[in-house]
Symmetry: C2
Subunit: 145 residues, 2 copies
DNA sequence: TCTATAAAAGACAAAAATATCTTTTATTAA
DNA sequence: TTAATAAAAGATATTTTTGTCTTTTATAGA
């Protein structure tokens, strides 16, 4: 088990890739995205459809169409993508899967697990979709395999 | 999606419960464990079977039998349970699910995600199976719902 | 030794996540 | 206004995770 679902991993990789291409002035087709981030094309298509319906990514049909981000979207936190795809369990859930776990009714791992959640929350709120555009263009980061 | 699989959540809850009862001098049957940690009994049975086969938990069949921990096992880190059940992806995996992600070939989240992994690793290595026995006996912690 | 108990083992079932395929709709450009 | 392109939508398939049921094996105690 990884921290994020496959769906979420693909979503994050795709989002970073599309952001980079948007920054360079392009729209990107699903085929190119799937190839570049090494994900199954039809499955990724479904994921981006969902993000599109929620207004988290922009898309246009037809020739020269594809996916892209407008300036406002590039400034959204990655947390918005994760929430849309995996829900908010990762930000608020109990490490032992207990529904009523809380400060008042803690599970044994509560205190330490809070630190994990906070670190994840910080990471995802502090990372905008467009944050790595320059690094990606310079080839500093990998999104493939 | 939660951080750990259901399987792993049940395993951790069960382990803490059995540890507490062991500390009190009892062996525990699968039925009691399942009730007390609110998990599906036959599913939990399979999980404990696996842990038992790996020597992480002790068990005896027959009347007055059940699951328990010997002193050495009580001192094992919770990480051993998680590894047995969920593998080591949570300790070493890439946040974006990339196989070749590393210091030399990092994904965009690599640096921040490392902190998350380190926090999880610390939590699970620093927590022994028997760590919460007294707290559980005193009713300080919850394992149910 | 016989019976009751409780875990181990194996087969099976349901649900959720992951993945694919086909048809429809929107858009562009000739 | 037609043809080509590319996303959206819907139906279907596969795999993995989660959950159940039945039979077998080990142990204790009468």
């Amino acid at each position: 088990m990884a921290i994020f679902s496959k769906t979420c991993e693909y979503a994050m990789r795709a989002v970073f890739y599309v952001a980079q291409r948007s920054h360079e002035g392009y729209k990107v087709g699903i085929k190119e995205i799937a190839e570049q981030i090494n994900s199954p094309e039809p499955f990724l298509a479904k994921i981006l459809q969902r993000l599109s319906k929620e207004g988290l990514i922009q898309s246009v049909k037809g020739p020269n169409g594809g996916f892209y981000f407008d300036a406002a979207s590039l400034n959204r936190p990655l947390a918005d993508i994760v929430t849309a795809v995996d829900g908010n369990a990762i930000f608020t859930g109990c490490g032992l899967g207990l529904t009523y776990c809380s400060e008042a009714n803690p599970c044994p791992l509560h205190e330490e697990f809070k630190k994990v959640r906070n670190q994840i929350t910080y990471m995802l709120n502090n990372t905008t979709i467009g944050k790595f555009n320059l690094g990606l263009i310079k080839g500093k980061f990998s999104l493939n395999k």
